[in-house]
């Protein structure tokens, strides 16, 4: 096998390489420095904590969503799932059983995920089927969340463990732990490997003797379980549950995954990508709030940054292509 060595890259080339390989991160660093100059308080521990606290719920959702995206599907119902789980959790917690209020709703969420996965696996569905099925599930779950408590806003009156898991940096610990565990599952276990293979080419996976239905089922169950965790964290963080709390969270979760580099076609991406995406979007929102941008122009900037991050990424890939 002939492998010719390439001439050593010039320093300038290498710098451009590093920059363009990590376009999103550098974009973020730039933003951070600008904000930090304008608002020195930005770089304080307290704000750092705030950011962690703010991204963790959406981060958990994105983490669950990653499983589903990796297998080439999409789940539009995680937001309403979160609403429903929040209501359940607070109902149980206010009844005094706080541990149960943490565990039971998460298991319920896993079960709901199993049902969704069961349908998708049963019909051999992928993106299209999961889109519609979970869009339907979104409407059912949101309605159930409203029906259960008569559509009321619920305060958390519990005072024990349930209220502590959402305080300070705790949700962030949960989020980071999830990322580490999921990344381990994905890259270091045969389960994760097969999941990735199924996502990348289900036909080939089937002909390799992989039980592809099982992996569709599991991807949705993991997504359910993890959005259940988000559903418990949210009321614990805000100390109230709202039957419409999760509205539109699903799009934000997907955006975070995709900005970080998880592919919507399945089979490509990792939880590290998700982590990056969540942090980028979280820091962006935080800095815009600090800059005093009202929520309207914030949307414009957010959209622009997402597009820009991707454009840079693509330019980078093209450069690499040209140089072989």
């Amino acid at each position: 096998m002939e492998v010719a060595a390439r001439p050593k890259d010039s320093i300038k080339n290498r710098i451009v390489d590093i920059l363009s390989n990590n376009a999103i991160l550098f974009l973020m660093l730039l933003l951070v420095s600008v904000v930090a100059i304008l608002y020195p308080r930005f770089l304080t521990l307290a704000n750092f904590n705030n950011i962690l606290n703010q991204i963790s719920v959406i981060g958990c959702l994105a983490c669950g969503m990653t499983f589903v995206l990796l297998i080439g599907c999409i789940d539009l119902s995680v937001g309403s799932m979160m609403s429903l789980i929040g209501i359940m959790a607070v109902t149980v917690a206010n009844g005094g059983r706080e541990w149960l209020a943490i565990i039971l709703p998460i298991l319920a969420a896993g079960a709901i995920g199993l049902i969704k996965g069961g349908i998708i696996a049963g019909v051999n569905g992928r993106l299209g089927e999961s889109f519609i099925t979970t869009y339907g599930a979104q409407s059912v779950l949101a309605a159930l969340a409203l029906i259960i408590q008569g559509g009321l806003f619920m305060m958390v009156t519990a005072t024990g463990i349930f209220t502590r898991i959402g305080k300070g940096a705790n949700p962030a610990y949960v989020f980071f732990a999830l990322i580490v565990i999921c990344q381990f599952i994905l890259t270091k276990t045969s389960f994760g490997r097969k999941l990735l293979f199924v996502g990348s080419n289900p036909k080939a996976a089937r002909l390799s003797g992989v039980n592809i239905k099982f992996y569709f089922l599991m991807a949705f169950m993991m997504c359910g379980l993890i959005s259940g965790i988000a559903g418990v964290l949210l009321p614990s963080r805000v100390m109230s549950a709202n039957p419409t709390a999760g509205t539109n969270y699903e799009l934000e979760a997907i955006a975070a995954c995709v900005v970080g580099g998880v592919s919507m076609k399945g089979g490509s991406g990792s939880f590290v990508n998700t982590l990056i995406g969540v942090i980028v979007i979280g820091v962006l929102s935080n800095s815009m709030n600090l800059l005093g941008l009202s929520s309207y122009p914030q949307m414009i900037v957010k959209g622009f940054v997402i597009a820009l991050a991707f454009a840079l990424d693509v330019v980078n890939k093209r450069r690499q292509m040209q140089r072989g």
Partner: protein, 301 residues
Amino acid sequence: FAVASAEAPAARKVFFTNAFFTAPFCAPLNAQAMATAAENNIELTIVDGQADASVQLDQIKTAIDQGYDGIIYFPADAAGSITIVNTLNESGIAYAIIDSKVDASVAETIPVFAGPDNVEMGRVAGRACVEQIGENAKVVCLMGSAGTDPATNRQKGFEEIISQYPGIEILAAQNVDGWDPAIAMSIMQDYITRFGDEIEFLFTHDDGIFQGAQQAIAAAGLTGKIKAVSTGANNVGVAAIKSGELYGSVLHSAKEEGQLGVEAVIAVMDGEIKNGDQEWFKCMSPLVTLENVAEWEGWGW
């Protein structure tokens, strides 16, 4: 059996399109409307207007086609109500508007509006603010969902009062999408980072928003240092008032509004009010504080 039902007058059927059906505020409103309707021998159907004037127009057209006796219309937004009000007027059906006002161009044609005076509510909050912090202070506001009637008008009333005191500065004001406490919490966290302990006063358009913001305030150890006035005075607000986290909240009773809405449409169906009368069944908007909380508890939800 048939004889018995012949004696009682047949129930009248009323259709209610609620633009914000799923909002927590509307849960008690819907429930009270159902109750009042039942008391008055009315069969009430409530549908979700999905915050969209176009959806509501379709619903109302179908309802007119179905031959309902009366319609209660909770507009998603003022501008979008023009066609709907015209449609209602043309059909000759009895109807009442609740909660949010219709567009000025058709306001003169409506028979009755049942709802709060949002501008006045803002004014009440503004006065409470001045009362609390004096004529020199720094304020932040967390407003309701962008573009909605309450968010626009409550802020308008509030600023009307505040603007009379040049010493009071509004540091920042931001809409809270979907009146979501979680979003309110994040915004408040960032306000605290940005302004530190400069913030002396917080005005929120809803007790739920306040409740979210309060978590950020508590986490920063600023409870009590930031005085706050909210709107709603529902259970959430009342609890916060009692615990001292919230100075006061301007009442907006969902129950009262639900009841007034049904009473209003009955009045129109009975012919007591005609199109163009522009009656206003106004909801009360007192400021609920620790002093009078006992009196008003339970009016919210």
